[in-house]
């Protein structure tokens, strides 16, 4: 779960990290009230993706009217598929320096990595590419957490020795997001040093491991409902599916992430454009297939669906029956190609044919078939 900025900052504050005064506004009136309370503010779109600044999602307001107008413009706008549900009005900081500080999972090292750079701010990725030595790194032992001497070395390596004490203390607090909240990413960029020497989180990104949400029901209850993303993804999540929206017109269902991704590749290669990625996991029960089909058919752009299932433990005839039932229950009329292999695949294909569903022998044949059928539909 990717928290919104204000949510992430609430969590950081609970860990003892200083954040600027700020107020959530759900409408222009609340933004105006925020100005009245805080004075000049940055009005910031709350979306769980980067690049909101470039998308026009951050506006400075130096009057109540400006704050109101900024909120009007930003709330409801679409940033990378996310409809902005609310803005965060935050008092402006008196910035002296901007530092980059971030924890994330380095999957190659199978470890958490901590990165610190004196060159914080928007251009940190460029810094990483052009002068990687400007970013000090540490892999904290996951049982011990980062030790004081390790952090002191890191801070001096980053050329921030003059801030050694406050930074070591702050990094230890931020680290708590990993063991305490199963954070996969905990990033403060910029970490602002004000002209008065305070060290404050200027922005905050926090991603919590979805697999660990059972340990953090409090976070889910408090923040889970606020984020409004792609409506199909939201619906798929409710139905317990692994689903990602794409911008094509061919719905895809597969069992297993690898097979599903491979199916996207085949459809693209055959000249089609997938509308989604949808992994229904092992087996292929009618109910799960029906849920997946239901979500895919919500999208009016979809012109046909390809189901690619390998029956490992599950038998082909059972898969076929499940697909037929799902289609019938949903009264689906769009072209449907089902490719299945594994045990009893012939029996399965027979069932599909009998029910007017196009069976595919290989993934590649099936991909070409659905592309052909959806093109035909257009003509």
């Amino acid at each position: 779960m990717k928290l919104l900025e204000y949510q992430a900052k609430e969590v950081l504050a609970s860990l003892g990290i200083a954040i600027p005064p700020g107020v959530v506004a759900r409408n222009p009136a609340e933004a105006a009230a925020a100005f009245a309370r805080l004075g000049p503010v940055a009005v910031k779109a709350q979306v769980p993706v980067g690049g909101r600044g470039k998308a026009g999602g951050i506006k400075l307001a130096s009057s109540e009217a400006e704050a109101r107008r900024a909120a009007e413009q930003i709330i409801g706008m679409d940033i990378k598929g996310f409809k902005v549900p609310l803005v965060y009005c935050e008092a402006a900081l008196d910035i002296a320096r901007e530092i980059y500080l971030g924890f994330t999972v380095d999957r190659d090292a199978r470890a958490n990595i901590l990165m610190l750079s004196a060159k914080g701010g928007m251009e940190i990725e460029q810094v990483a590419e052009e002068s990687p030595a400007a970013i000090a790194r540490l892999y904290p032992n996951p049982w011990r957490g980062p030790l004081d001497f390790e952090l002191t070395q890191l801070v001096f390596d980053a050329g921030l020795g003059d801030l050694s004490r406050p930074l070591v203390s702050l990094i230890k607090k931020l680290y708590r997001a990993i063991p305490d909240y199963d954070a996969l990413t905990a990033e403060i960029n910029p970490l602002v040093v004000t002209k008065r020497g305070e060290v404050i989180a200027g922005d905050a990104k926090l991603e919590i491991d979805d697999n660990a949400m059972w340990r953090h029901k409090d976070l889910e209850e408090k923040y889970g409902a606020v984020i409004e993303g792609d409506p199909y993804e939201v619906e798929a999540k409710k139905r317990g599916l692994t689903y990602v929206s794409l911008d094509g017109d061919i719905g895809i269902i597969g069992n297993g992430a690898g097979l599903c991704m491979g199916t996207l590749d085949l459809v693209q290669r055959a000249g089609g454009r997938p509308a989604n990625f949808c992994d229904i996991g092992g087996g292929a029960k009618a109910e799960v297939v029906e849920n997946a089909l239901a979500v895919i058919l919500m999208n009016p752009k979809v012109k046909g669906v390809l189901i690619n299932v390998f029956g490992g433990i599950t038998r082909g005839d059972e898969v076929a029956k499940g697909v037929v039932t799902a289609r019938d229950n949903l009264k689906m009329t769009l072209p449907l190609v089902v490719r299945m292999s594994g045990t009893r695949e012939e029996e399965g294909r027979e069932i599909l044919k009998r029910n007017g569903i196009e069976p595919g022998v290989s993934g590649w044949e099936a991909a070409k078939k659905i592309v052909e059928l959806t093109r035909a539909g257009v003509t």
Binding site: G81, T104, T185, E187
Partner: protein
């Protein structure tokens, strides 16, 4: 010949009395795998599926001499079960469980540094099978056949698909290893390839990779040093859009690694043929 697992491997099943654990224990037994026991705290002293059940892995190892374990326990308990197996002296640990929190697995990886003999396959993987001899996990035996093709894969269903095709074409397999698709896992692509390179019973190699991480690149580096194995690689996800990522941390550490392009190029440079679809693999192997 084979890697990691053969008919002499003595296997326990952690979570043997569970639905999944029980079902797959039967499957494992039905192909001749030497399942010598299982664990289920509180059920020590009973018998399930014809084998003794123990309260803990240490008890099971002491009593049976088991050297391998298949883990079929729910995600909240799986990381602990892996550590338990390692501490009990198990040298091949296969964790099928899906959905283990990443931080749990990071701690497990660090824990396993204290048990260098213990090899972990997975988690979130279909396990491994040496056709005709034994399996730990959930790869269906009937799609496999004994032979000389080593198969290593990050994907479950793609593994089945390719194994089926190989078997149908008369290309049997030495061992099939599904290493799993999680970001933090046990044996890597490279680890498994290294084992296949050393296995005289393996003459061909099929590698099923995926976008993300650099494991395929590392395996390619190893093969680039020259190997007697005829190898074909396939990478799935080449058309997948970049994840909707947030923050810069991920980008800073991964740079341009992990794309389908970088993986395919690495394999080509290493002299490994790259298949465009899984359907092409069999033809390219001959």
């Amino acid at each position: 010949m084979s890697i990691l697992l053969d008919s002499s491997t003595m296997v326990i099943v952690q979570g043997i009395t569970g639905r999944e654990g029980g079902f797959h224990t039967e499957q494992m037994q039905s192909m001749g795998t030497k399942v010598v026991g299982g664990t289920s705290p509180g059920k020590g002293g009973t018998t399930h599926l014809g084998v003794p059940v123990f309260d803990t892995a240490a008890d099971a190892v002491r009593a049976t001499g088991a050297n391998a374990s298949g883990i079929f326990v729910p995600a909240p308990f799986a990381a602990d079960a892996i550590m338990e197996a390692a501490a009990a002296g198990i040298t091949l640990i296969v964790c099928i469980t899906e959905g283990i929190p990443i931080q749990d697995m990071i701690r497990v990886k660090e824990f396993l540094r204290g048990y260098p003999q213990a090899r972990l396959v997975g988690a979130n993987c279909p396990g491994l099978i040496t056709p005709g001899q034994a399996k730990i996990g959930i790869i269906p035996q009937r799609i496999t056949s004994p032979g000389a093709v080593g198969l290593v894969s990050r994907s479950g269903t793609l593994t089945y698909e390719v194994a089926s095709a190989l078997s149908a074409a008369g290309l049997g397999q030495s061992t099939i290893v599904g290493i799993g698709g999680d970001p933090v896992l046990g044996l890597t692509f490279r680890d498994v390839v290294e084992l296949f390179v050393q296995d005289p019973g393996t003459t061909n190699l099929v590698l099923i990779g995926e976008i993300g991480g650099s494991d395929e690149e590392h395996a390619a580096e190893l093969l680039a040093r020259g190997s007697r194995l005829k190898a074909v690689a396939f990478i799935s996800g080449r058309t997948a859009p970049e994840g909707k990522r947030m923050g810069h941390a991920g980008a800073i550490i991964s740079g341009n690694r992990g794309t389908a392009k970088s993986k395919e190029e690495a394999f080509r440079k290493a002299g490994v043929a790259v298949a465009e679809t899984t359907d092409d693999i069999v033809g390219m192997l001959r």
